[in-house]
Symmetry: C2
């Protein structure tokens, strides 16, 4: 997720500390060092590093959901591309790449950490829903195949975006290839014109 | 990756310790506790927990590559399904799920850890290659579209498998949906008959 860092000052400090130290190693001291606030002040707001990271994840996902909701486009195809584009931006900055890594570390905490898992669940569902809305709008307007399984297609795209993100972190594979692959998917499996023209 | 645990006794002990404690928390003590060997004996073979985990990852990926190579099928479609099936087995055992999580934690270490990243890279490339071989064989035999971009399709499938794995860990999403989605992908984008029959 190539999201902007959250707005609140503590959240911004957490973002910078996560980019520098990673999820596993980051400490309240590291976050305080990035913030105008002292470690004591951080502890006044958040009892533990875990509480702060849960708040961070929540803030991150809600600002990202707001970005998803702000997506515009004159057609369902354009809105699909815009949604995909929010996820598959090239990460030119080293800090972006570090941040993607911290997000993957937090995903890997899902099974251990109920508070994380709840937020991840909520975001996964919100994302699937946004894609399903775009697919349904495209079917409605006649732009997409009328027999498109809207929920299954949305779920598949969310899986693809998760995979692009994981491979970007694990093996530095550029996300551009996935943008191209999803463009082919749109042509071959989603858009009506692909069938009509054959 | 629903692989069998590695064969060697230390590797099996490492597998069990990772399932119990996870990648971040596991210690040499934990591994020794699962092994017939003492902690001192483990340190005789492996200087550090990191060295042992690198050896474990290597062993895991090479046994998994051997499983990929042993895949059989009377057609390219069947071999494709068998390859996919190796990755998208239902994880009914709690220990399988814990192990998937440890693998995702190791993937998230890619950017921090060159030794891990090299092994992950090698496996990612080996996997893409196996799918590309199956796609090429299907094009050759006339089973798949002759204009199929074999490398791009293989790369896409590897992304999808990574995504299924990540979502399974992060939000407990069952992998069966991805099997069905890849079956549709095969019909709509890969197999020749899909075009001919339209």
């Amino acid at each position: 997720m190539a999201s902007d860092p959250p707005r609140d000052e503590i959240m911004e400090a957490t973002y910078r500390a996560l980019c520098k130290h990673g999820y596993a190693a980051v400490t309240m001291e590291d976050i305080a060092a990035e913030s105008e606030k002292s470690k004591a002040a951080l502890h006044y707001h958040y009892e533990s590093k875990h509480d702060l990271l849960v708040a961070f994840l929540e803030d991150l996902l809600s600002s990202f959901t707001a970005e998803l909701d702000a997506v515009e486009g004159s057609s369902a195809t354009e809105r699909f591309r815009a949604l995909v584009g929010l996820f598959l931006e090239s990460e030119e900055e080293e800090s972006d790449r570090r941040f993607e890594t911290a997000v993957l570390e937090m995903k890997a905490q899902g099974p251990y950490d109920e508070a994380f898992r709840e937020r991840l669940d909520e975001f996964d569902a919100a994302l699937s829903e946004r894609f399903a809305d775009v697919f349904a709008a495209g079917v409605e307007s006649g732009e997409f195949r009328e027999d498109l399984d809207v929920d299954a297609a949305a779920d598949f795209v969310v899986t693809v975006l998760n995979g692009a993100h994981t491979r970007q972190v694990a093996v530095e594979r550029p996300v551009e290839q996935t943008r191209a692959a999803l463009e082919r998917y749109l042509d071959e499996s989603v858009r009506r014109t692909a069938e009509v023209e054959q």
